[in-house]
């Protein structure tokens, strides 16, 4: 049996043990995701996990489910296509800051605005690690890497502000070092009807040691602890403007209910596309136009 009952976090372990560096933040995200899926009692065969390419993409080998390890930057369109084809699946896209904010930035913006009912988790370590340490779109200004020996000089992308301005219906930030909190965010994201965007602060002890667990902990604060309600886009915007070099809010910044991408296609509103019977399709109804 591939699906032990009851479902436990270990039910999602693959045959391959993670090859990430000791202390990598990816372990925390891995654990949080498995915990979230088991809390929601989603069996591995009902979850579609679509990965980009990078250290986060290698996750594809370390988790059990219907897994698609796609191209760098392209996890979101693959995930959207899968969801449109089979809306009964829980579709989760996973990538890094290079996937989401460099190679696939336009997909990130477009998928957020489409509000397709999937969850997107970004492993945001502010550095390119699988290629052994180059600057990323979220690297802090002045960050010295192999390709920016004098320090990163471009203004960093602000994922929270980006998601809010693109019309994100669920915009959240988590921390790889706080597994239960992150797991809860993933649960909320999966339960959210629409596109859920979760940017995860992920320490990379090997290629970005400056942004250590301690560095993050000194700046993190939980929105929920302050009685924050994520129902106001302007307030969310203000929080998103906080410089992460000073303070980092975690939790849900903004959430709203609105039509999903799938809602705009009446043909899949009741039955998933792959479960519809096309055997009765008859072209004679169209031939009259050409006679």
């Amino acid at each position: 049996m591939q699906t032990p009952d009851p479902i436990k976090p270990e039910s999602y372990n693959s045959d391959v043990f993670p090859t990430w560096c000791p202390g990598c933040g990816n372990f925390g995200i891995w654990a949080a995701l498995k915990m979230a899926l088991s809390n929601l009692k989603i069996p591995p065969h009902k979850v579609a996990l679509i990965f980009g390419v990078g250290c986060s993409g290698n996750f594809a080998n370390f988790v059990k489910g219907y897994v698609f390890h796609s191209l760098h930057g392209r996890a979101l369109p693959v995930a959207s296509g899968a969801k449109l084809a089979n809306s009964d699946l829980h579709v989760i896209a996973i990538g890094g800051d290079g996937d989401g904010f460099a190679e696939g930035l336009s997909h990130t913006i477009q998928t957020i605005r489409s509000n397709v009912n999937i969850t997107y988790i970004v492993h945001d370590n502010h550095v390119y690690s699988l290629t052994t340490g180059q600057t990323s779109p979220t690297s802090l200004k002045g960050f010295k890497t192999k390709t920016t020996p004098e320090g990163s000089f471009e203004y960093p992308i602000n994922p929270m502000a980006l998601a809010i301005s693109a019309g994100g219906s669920f915009v959240a930030r988590g921390f790889a070092g706080e597994i239960p909190h992150l797991s809860d965010l993933i649960v909320q994201g999966i339960q959210h009807r629409g596109f859920s965007f979760i940017d995860v602060m992920q320490p990379c002890p090997t290629f970005n040691p400056q942004l250590s667990y301690d560095w993050y902990r000194q700046r993190l604060y939980k929105l929920a602890d302050q009685g924050y309600k994520p129902d106001n886009r302007h307030k969310a915007w203000d929080i998103a403007q906080e410089e992460i070099s000073e303070k980092i809010a975690t939790g849900v910044l903004y959430q709203e209910q609105r039509a999903t991408l799938e809602d705009n296609f009446p043909q899949i509103s009741k039955t998933a596309l792959v479960k519809k019977d096309f055997s009765g399709v008859d072209i004679r109804q169209f031939l009259g136009q050409f006679k």
Binding site: H45, H69, S70, A85, Q110, L273, K291
Partner: protein, 569 residues
């Protein structure tokens, strides 16, 4: 009944409904039993510029022929520009208030479109309606069929628009009948009415997608592929098809791959430039063995090229796109009929062999209208390939998605199937799908994927011969040049010439090349400048062609050009 063909050319500014006028006139002739082929030229802009459409009608035709027998000039430019391609006995319909005749060599039909429209309070946009009414009068046809088509076209809008157009058509018709009597050598004659459809290649491809039970179509608008997206956006949902315009071509192909992986029969449409953006993801479909139908309608490249003109310049491109080696199937339908059946077949092949399958068209075929025998869906048997159900997976002890098999095809499961888990992996992978860099595994997976193509080569049909069995010269062509060459063959019946047409372009196995080895002398005809298919033939069978005929000015080959070329060798 005479065998006489009539070619009519209508020209005017963009925005004056030239293409619609051609298609409307075609429909009138279709209902009179004629066979029709049309051809449209237009620049890449919305208003202004010079738009033309030409129609050839006759009891039996394959392609538009020149010279032009009747020119309908909606502006001065049309009058002036096409005099050199008119037959000596041609007529010209024009508005004498707007257009100064620069010749008296042809039979001139001055019809004051503008003045007529003023009298009946019609809008200037209805110039073409007056002109088509006049056209039918010059050709000695009756007006009733045209009035019926106008009712069908404008009926959905309002009675007012219908009535205005009917008045315009009648006015144009009566003006000629009352004022411009005289013998015109081309006349509409009643034909035997056949069960035909008159449609463009793209319309046939869209219908083929529906008949092939395509469930999801993704595209980003790009001439000359856009009309498939437009047609399916309107009609696809009626059969449950999901049609989506994505944010760019990279998203298009990746969404199509995701949808196909999840179990939907998926297709995408683009042209060369858009397909260039899809290169990397084509390889993703290849290595993950995800079924995918890719419709590429070629236009003149490279880069933006001639956006609204035609070329067969992308054969090598679709054959070799993306890094690495992986199998693909390329189909290049030759006419509207093949567009329909081969699109449906492409979906079957994609499912059976779990690989990208191309439908390679071009502007000439995609946007060219033609009458063909009405489509028979019962000729299409839907195949789903090897997809394991939950029951079948249970029976297998351990399911391995990328199991190395003799045919190369490994049975699939679809996400959602219990116990059928796997990883679709852009990295080289083992039989489960996990990333694997071991050398032996690499060879096993590369060979497994490659073996699928050998299986395909045995299944796909041989190229089709037209004309006598033995001939001194064999014309060889592929894709959209089929109709032109068949039309030319009508004038070469007393010559020792036959014609070998390829529409299954890849894989090419022994059976596909066999007829080439037997041919005495061959002439490869293609719409490109470097002889792409000629090179493929040389590379694969060592057959060097004795002659070739290439055209790359964006225009189609005209039948008379082919006849001349052959008579001159």
């Amino acid at each position: 009944m005479s065998n006489k063909l009539i070619t009519i050319k209508i020209g005017g500014e963009a925005g004056f409904g030239i293409k619609v006028a051609g298609a409307t006139l075609g429909k009138v002739f279709l209902r009179l039993g004629y066979e029709i082929a049309d051809y449209t030229e237009y620049p890449s802009l919305i208003r202004g510029g010079h738009n033309t459409t030409e129609l050839t009608i006759g009891p039996k035709i394959y392609h538009v022929v020149r010279p032009i027998n009747l020119l309908v000039a909606l502006n001065q430019e049309t009058f002036d520009k096409h005099l050199s391609i008119l037959s000596d006995d041609a007529g010209i319909i024009f508005d004498p208030e707007k257009t100064k005749p620069t010749t008296d060599k042809f039979k001139l039909y001055p019809v004051p479109f503008g003045k007529i429209l003023k009298e009946i309070a019609g809008s200037d946009l209805m110039k073409n309606t007056v002109a088509l009414g006049a056209t039918l009068a010059v050709l000695d046809g009756n007006i009733e069929g045209y009035l019926q088509v106008l009712k069908e076209i404008f009926g959905k809008k309002s009675d007012k628009i219908v009535n205005a157009n009917i008045a315009a058509a009648n006015a144009g018709y009566s003006f000629v009948k009352e004022n411009l009597q005289g013998e015109f050598p081309y006349k509409i004659e009643p034909q035997e009415v056949k069960d035909q459809v008159y449609l463009t290649g793209n319309e046939a491809i869209a219908l083929g997608a529906i008949a092939g039970q395509c469930q999801a179509y993704f595209a980003y608008p790009m001439t000359p592929s856009t009309s498939v997206l437009v047609y399916l956006s309107k009609h696809g949902p009626k059969v449950g098809m999901l049609v989506r315009q994505a944010e760019d071509e990279i998203s298009v192909i990746n969404q199509a791959i995701g949808a196909s992986w999840a179990g939907a029969r998926s297709m995408l449409g683009t042209s060369g430039g858009g397909f260039a953006l899809m290169s990397e993801a084509l390889g993703l479909a290849g290595i993950t063995e995800t079924p995918l139908v890719i419709f590429v309608s070629q236009r003149s490249g490279p880069a933006t090229g001639l956006p609204t003109w035609s070329e067969q310049g992308d054969l090598r491109f679709v054959l070799h796109t993306a890094q690495g080696e992986f199998p693909r199937i390329i189909l290049a339908p030759g006419d509207q009929e093949e567009c329909f059946y081969m699109t449906a077949e492409a979906h079957n092949l994609a499912q059976k062999y779990q690989m990208p399958v191309f439908i390679l068209s071009d502007k000439n075929l995609s946007e060219g209208g033609k009458t063909v025998t009405s489509f028979d869906q019962s000729k299409i048997a839907i195949e789903h390939g090897e997809v394991l159900s939950e029951e079948q997976v249970k029976q297998a002890k351990k399911y391995l998605r990328y199991q190395v098999t003799e045919s190369g095809v490994s049975p699939r499961t679809l996400p959602g199937t219990e116990n059928g888990l796997f990883t679709a992996n852009s990295d080289e992978h083992n039989e489960y799908g996990y990333s694997e860099e071991d050398g032996e595994n690499r060879i096993a997976q590369v060979d497994k994927r490659a073996r699928k193509l050998e299986t395909v080569a045995k299944e796909i049909p041989k190229p089709v011969f037209y004309g006598p069995n033995n001939a001194d010269l064999t014309i060889v062509s592929w894709g959209s040049t089929k109709s032109t060459i068949l039309q030319a063959m009508e004038s070469l019946k007393d010559k020792s010439v036959n014609f070998l047409h390829y529409s299954y372009m890849w894989p090419l196995g022994t059976a596909q090349f066999e007829p080439l080895k037997k041919a005495k002398k061959i002439m490869v005809i293609e719409n490109n400048s470097t002889g792409l298919f000629e090179g493929i033939i040389r590379e694969n069978v060592g057959r060097v062609s004795e002659f070739n005929f290439r055209k790359y000015d964006g225009r189609p080959f005209w039948p008379h050009e082919i006849v001349k070329k052959i008579l001159n060798i």
